[in-house]
C-alpha cells in the first residue's frame, strides 16, 4: 500500500506519521506543500503540527497551499484522506469536512491520554476494529469541535461522528470531554466516509513503551482494510 504525508512549513508530526506508516507496512512518500502533484497513493495524510505557525486560524493558510488542489481532487475521487490534529483543522478550513475547531474550553494547550469511543465502523478506517474504546493521545490548543445546528443534524443523520471522547468504560459524558467539543466529538468523517479528521494522535502510540499502544490497533486495522 502506498501512502503520502504532506509536509507544510511548521508541520511537526510528519516524521512520526511516516515512521508509523512504514512500521505497519505502508510504502510512504513525503510530499512538499509547494508541489503540484501527489504521488500515486492509497492513503494521503495531513499530519499534525503548526502549519504556518497556526497564524490567522489554525489550518487556514495551509488550506490555500499549492498541493491542496491535488489533495481535494484525490479525496473527491474517493481516495482515503486522513487529517490528524492540525491536519483535521486543515480539512475543516478546506471545507472537506464540516465545522471548525475552536480554542479548548479552558483555553490552554492539553497534552494527555484520552479514551475515545468508535461510533462508526462502516468505513475503511474502523471496519472490523478489535476494540470499541481506544486509549489515544491528544496534544492541541484548538480541538474544541463546533458546527451549526443544521450541520450537526446532517452529521448525526449521516452517521459522520467517528470518535467521541469517553471514559475508560466507553461512557460519553461531560467529565470525559477534554476540550469542550460539541457532543464530545474527537473525529468526524465526510458523508462518503473516505475523509477522516481526528484530533488524537495514533502515531504517538505505536509500541508499549510509549504512552500506550492502541495506535497499533488503529494502523493494523487500517492496513488490513485496504488490502
Amino acid at each position: 500500500m502506498n501512502s503520502s504525508v504532506v509536509i507544510f512549513p511548521g508541520s511537526n508530526c510528519d516524521r512520526d506519521m511516516a515512521v508509523a506508516l512504514k512500521k505497519f507496512g505502508f510504502k510512504n512518500n513525503m510530499v512538499w506543500h509547494d508541489d503540484i502533484d501527489l504521488p500515486k497513493s492509497d492513503l494521503v495524510v495531513l499530519p499534525g503540527g503548526f502549519s504556518y505557525g497556526d497564524h490567522l486560524r489554525s489550518g487556514s493558510i495551509a488550506s490555500k497551499s499549492k498541493i491542496i488542489q491535488s489533495v481535494i481532487k484525490f479525496a473527491k475521487s474517493g481516495g482515503l484522506l486522513l487529517g490528524i490534529c492540525n491536519g483535521f483543522q486543515i480539512l475543516t478550513e478546506t471545507e472537506l469536512l464540516p465545522g471548525v475547531l475552536l480554542r479548548n474550553k479552558f483555553s490552554e494547550f492539553i497534552c494527555k491520554n484520552v479514551f475515545v469511543k468508535i461510533n462508526n465502523t462502516e468505513n475503511n478506517y474502523f471496519k472490523k476494529i478489535k476494540k470499541n474504546v481506544l486509549e489515544l493521545h491528544i496534544a492541541h490548543n484548538e480541538g474544541n469541535y463546533f458546527c451549526s445546528n443544521i450541520q450537526m443534524k446532517e452529521i448525526v443523520d449521516n452517521n459522520q461522528i467517528a470518535l467521541s471522547y469517553c471514559d475508560k468504560n466507553g461512557e460519553i459524558n461531560e467529565k470525559s470531554n477534554p476540550n469542550g467539543s460539541s457532543k464530545n466529538i474527537a473525529a468526524i468523517l465526510n458523508k462518503e466516509k473516505n475523509i477522516l479528521g481526528m484530533m488524537p494522535h495514533p502515531e504517538r502510540m505505536i509500541d508499549k513503551y510509549l504512552s500506550g499502544d492502541d495506535g497499533v490497533i488503529f494502523f493494523e486495522n487500517l492496513l488490513n482494510n485496504l488490502k
Binding site: 511537526n12 503548526f50 497564524h55 494547550f109 496534544a139 502515531e203 513503551y209
Partner: protein, 729 residues
C-alpha cells in the same frame, strides 16, 4: 560625542572606559562603544565569574566538547553524540513573561541546533515568588504559556522540569531553559571561523530594534524621537525558528559550512566577534546588506539588536548559491553581509563609510576579569527543637499538608500544557525522577533532569552546591540511566556584594567537588548575576541539568509501584535531618539550621549499586528520596502506580516524624519482587550499602500500624488539586 557619562550609561565602569581609550589610543565612536559595552558586560565576558569557572571539572572520557562553544557535547556510544545546554532568561521573563520565556526556549534551542544537532528534548527550571505575592500567578501563567507556545510549535517534547516558589524571587523570577539534541559525531559544527575571504552569511528573520538594552540607550544617540525608539522586548517566532532549524540541518548535510553561530545576546556583535576571535581572524561587515525590518536603523542598532531567530554562518567559497536556494525554499532571509579577513580586526561599514574599526582581541581577550571580594558562609548550628512540638501533630494531616504545599504539589497543571510526546520517543513523561526519550531507531535512550535546591544553597552554599549535583545524579540513576555529564545555570545576586559573591564561589566549590567525585563533568552553562531588586537578592540558585544514558531502554524503571506483595527497600541511612526540610518550613515554621550533610562516598556507592540492581532487572520501580522525605517519596510512588503500601514501623530510634519527613541524602526507595529479594539484598550487602525493609506493597491505602491508614485517592486529590485551584482562584 562619546564621553565617560555615556559610557557609564552603557553599563561600563569609569575604569573600564579609561581602559578602552587606552587600548584604542583614542575615544571610541558610538558604534564602537556599543560593541565594547556588549562584549565587556557580565553576560558575554563572564568578568566576575571567569576565574572561578576555570576551577570546574569540564573534561572526561565521554566529553567531546566542554564549555566555550554554543553547547556541550558528550559521547553516547556508536556514532551518536548528545549536545546540551541550559540558559537563563530571567529578566526578560519578569518584564513580559510570555515572550521572555518563549524567547528563552527559542534561544537555547538555537544554541543546540547551531551545532548540527536536532533537538530531541526540552526541560526547564522556573522559580517564582511566594504564592501569596500578587504578581506570582500571572507570571507563572505567562511563563508556562510561553514555554509551551514555543516548544510545542517547534515540535520538540518538553519532558521535564521543576517549579519552585519562594519569596526571594518576588522581584526576580528565574526562567532557565534547557535543550538536549542529537547529532552524529562526525557532523558536529563549531563556531570557530577559519580561512580568509570566506563569505559571512546572515540567515533567518529580519533585524529590528528588539531588545536593545535600556541601559545602553544613551541620550546622545536619541534625541527628540526617544519615545518612538524605546527599547522593545523581543518577540519570539517559533514558526520561523522551526523553518530555520530545518533549513540549517538541510544545509549541514554536506560540507558547505565552515562555522556557524546563533545570534543570541548582543546579536550580531557577539556572534561575529566570537567567530573571528576563536579563529584568530578578522572580519568585515557591510551593515547596509543586513536585512532590516524597520527603516532608518543605525549601525549601532543593527549591531546590538537582539532580534530572534537569526544565525551567522561562514561558508565555503562557491557554496553561496546552493545555500541561498535552501533558505529560499524555507522562506527565510539570506544575505552575504561580510567576509573574513587577516586583519584581526572587526571593521564595520555602513553606506561605504567605515563606522567601526577595533582589534578583535580588545573585545574578547582584553575584556576585564575581576577577582571580586567574597565572604564565607559558616555552617549554621543545628536548630535544637523541643520534641514537644511533635506532640500535637497527626501524621495524616502533616502528610496531606505537605502534599498540597506549593513546592511539593503535583505540577501536572504545568506539564500538561507542554507537548511531551511529539517525536514519538518519549518513554518517561514529566512527573517522575527524570524524563526519558529514546534515541530514534536504536535501543538506547537518554534520561535527563533539571534540579536546584536554593533553600539548601542559601543555608550553606558549599553543602547546597554538592547536594544539587547529587540530586541530579540520583534522579538519573532512579530511572536506570548512567549519569554522564551536566550543564549548569548559575543564578545569583549581585557579584559586587561580598556575601552574594561568596554564595557563588562556595556553591561552585560544592558543585565542583561533587562533580569530580561522581565523575560527572560540566560541559556547558551560563551565569546570571544581578538577580536583585531594590537591594534584595535571590537565594543562590544553581540549576543543574543532567544527562545520562540507558544502553537498553527496555530496562528503564519509573516511580510507579507495580504490583501488590512486593517489598520496598529504603536504600541509605535515615538519621532524621529535619533542618531546612519542607517539614520544618511548612509544618514547624522553622527556617534555621544546616542543610542535610552530603557524604559523597555513600552517594556514589548507593547510586552505583542501585544502578546495578536495575540493570540486573530486580527493580520494579524506584524513586530517590529528596525534598519531603521518605513518606512523601513513597506516597508519590503509590499515587502514580495507584497502589498502596503497608509500611513497617521504623526500627531506628529516630523520632517518628523525623524518620518519615527528614531529608537525609543519598537515599532511594526501590520495589523488588519477593522472588528476587535475596539476590538483591546480597548485592547490596556485598557493596556495603545500608538498607532497610520499608514496607510491602498492597492494592489499596497507605497503612502505618496505629498511626496512618489513608486512601490513595485522598492523597492524589490533595497533591493534584492544589495548583489547579490556585490558578483558578
Amino acid at each position: 560625542m562619546v564621553n565617560e557619562k555615556i559610557a557609564v550609561d552603557h553599563g561600563l565602569k569609569k575604569t573600564e572606559f579609561k581602559e578602552i581609550c587606552k587600548l584604542l589610543k583614542r575615544v571610541p565612536n558610538i558604534t564602537e562603544l556599543g560593541l565594547f559595552s556588549a562584549m565587556w558586560n557580565e553576560h558575554c565576558s563572564y568578568k566576575s565569574s571567569k576565574i572561578h569557572l576555570k576551577k570546574l571539572p569540564t573534561s572526561g572520557k565521554k566529553v567531546i566538547q566542554g564549555p566555550g562553544e554554543n553547547a556541550g557535547v558528550i559521547d553516547i556510544e556508536d556514532d551518536d553524540a548528545i549536545v546540551f545546554k541550559i540558559e537563563s532568561h530571567n529578566h526578560p521573563s519578569f518584564i513580559e513573561p510570555y515572550q521572555g520565556a518563549a524567547t528563552g526556549v527559542g534561544g537555547i534551542m538555537r544554541d543546540v541546533f547551531t551545532m548540527g544537532a536536532r533537538p530531541i528534548a526540552n526541560l526547564n527550571s522556573i522559580h517564582f515568588g511566594s504564592t501569596q505575592h500578587k504578581k506570582t500567578k500571572n507570571l507563572l501563567r505567562g511563563v508556562v504559556r510561553g514555554i509551551g507556545g514555543y516548544g510545542n510549535c517547534m515540535g520538540i517534547p518538553t519532558i521535564g522540569g521543576q517549579t519552585c516558589f519562594d519569596e526571594s524571587y518576588n522581584g526576580n523570577i528565574l526562567v532557565n531553559a534547557m535543550t538536549v539534541g542529537l547529532v552524529k559525531k562526525n557532523k558536529i559544527f563549531y563556531s570557530k571561523a577559519s580561512g580568509i575571504n570566506k563569505p559571512v552569511i546572515y540567515v533567518g528573520s529580519k533585524t529590528g530594534r528588539d531588545g536593545i538594552h535600556g541601559a545602553s540607550m544613551a541620550s546622545a544617540v536619541f534625541d527628540d524621537q526617544i519615545e518612538e525608539k524605546k527599547p522593545t522586548v523581543q518577540v519570539g517566532d517559533p514558526f520561523t525558528e522551526k523553518l530555520l532549524l530545518e533549513a540549517c540541518l538541510e544545509l549541514m548535510a554536506d560540507d558547505s559550512i565552515i562555522s556557524i553561530q546563533d545570534m543570541g545576546a548582543a546579536g550580531l556583535t557577539s556572534s561575529s566577534v566570537e567567530m573571528a576571535s576563536k579563529g584568530k581572524l578578522g572580519i568585515e561587515l557591510y551593515l547596509d546588506k543586513v536585512p532590516c525590518r524597520e527603516s532608518n536603523m543605525t549601525p549601532y542598532e543593527i549591531m546590538l539588536s537582539e532580534s530572534q531567530e537569526r544565525m551567522l554562518i561562514i561558508l565555503e567559497n562557491g557554496k553561496e548559491d546552493k545555500a541561498k536556494k535552501i533558505f529560499d525554499k524555507w522562506h527565510l532571509d539570506f544575505a552575504i553581509i561580510g567576509k573574513t579577513t587577516k586583519s584581526n580586526k572587526i571593521e564595520i561599514f555602513f553606506n561605504k563609510n567605515k563606522v567601526a574599526d577595533v582589534p578583535i582581541e580588545f573585545l574578547s581577550d582584553k575584556a576585564p576579569e575581576y577577582d571580586r571580594k567574597w565572604k564565607k558562609t559558616k555552617l549554621p548550628i543545628k536548630n535544637k527543637l523541643n520534641k514537644n512540638i511533635y506532640k500535637n501533630l497527626k501524621i495524616e494531616d502533616v502528610l496531606i499538608k505537605i502534599l498540597a504545599s506549593p513546592n511539593i504539589c503535583s505540577k501536572e497543571w504545568i506539564w500538561q500544557q507542554y507537548d511531551h510526546t511529539v517525536m514519538g520517543d518519549t518513554i518517561q513523561k514529566p512527573g517522575g525522577d527524570a524524563g526519558v526519550v529514546r534515541i530514534h531507531g536504536t535501543n538506547k535512550a537518554i534520561a535527563t533532569t533539571v534540579d536546584s535546591s536554593a533553600g539548601y544553597c542559601f543555608a550553606h552554599p558549599l553543602t547546597g552546591g554538592k547536594q544539587v549535583v547529587c540530586e541530579s545524579w540520583r534522579n538519573l540513576v532512579s530511572v536506570g540511566a548512567k549519569p554522564i555529564a551536566i550543564t549548569n545555570c548559575l543564578n545569583f545576586g549581585n557579584p559586587e556584594k561580598e556575601n552574594n559573591m561568596g554564595e557563588f564561589v562556595e556553591c561552585l566549590g560544592g558543585i565542583s567537588e561533587a562533580c569530580k567525585f561522581l565523575d560527572y563533568p560540566i560541559v556547558s552553562g551560563n551565569v546570571s548575576f544581578y538577580n536583585e531588586t531594590k537591594d534584595k537578592g535571590i537565594k543562590p540558585t544553581p540549576s543543574i541539568g543532567g544527562v545520562g544514558l540507558l544502553k537498553d531502554y527496555k530496562k528503564m524503571v519509573s516511580i510507579s509501584l507495580k504490583k501488590a506483595e512486593n517489598i520496598v527497600l529504603l536504600i541509605g541511612k535515615t538519621e532524621g535531618h529535619v533542618d531546612q526540610s519542607v517539614f520544618a518550613k511548612e509544618i514547624l515554621n522553622q527556617k534555621k539550621g544546616p542543610p542535610p550533610e552530603i557524604n559523597l562516598f555513600n552517594e556514589k556507592n548507593n547510586g552505583e549499586t542501585v544502578l546495578k540492581l536495575i540493570n540486573e532487572g530486580y527493580v520494579k520501580s524506584a524513586h530517590d528520596v529528596s525534598v519531603g522525605g521518605a513518606l512523601i517519596a513513597i506516597t508519590k510512588m503509590c499515587i502514580t502506580g495507584n497502589m498502596g503500601i503497608n509500611i513497617n514501623k521504623p526500627k531506628s530510634l529516630v523520632n517518628f516524624f523525623e524518620y518519615f519527613f527528614g531529608e537525609d541524602q543519598g537515599r532511594y526507595l526501590i520495589e523488588i519482587e519477593k522472588k528476587d529479594i535475596e539476590k538483591a539484598k546480597s548485592i547490596l550487602e556485598k557493596n556495603s550499602v545500608y538498607f532497610s525493609e520499608f514496607g510491602i506493597t498492597q492494592e489499596k491505602n497507605i497503612v502505618l500500624k496505629d498511626s496512618l491508614n489513608v486512601t490513595i485517592e485522598k492523597l492524589d486529590k490533595a497533591n493534584k488539586l492544589w495548583l489547579t485551584k490556585y490558578m483558578d482562584s
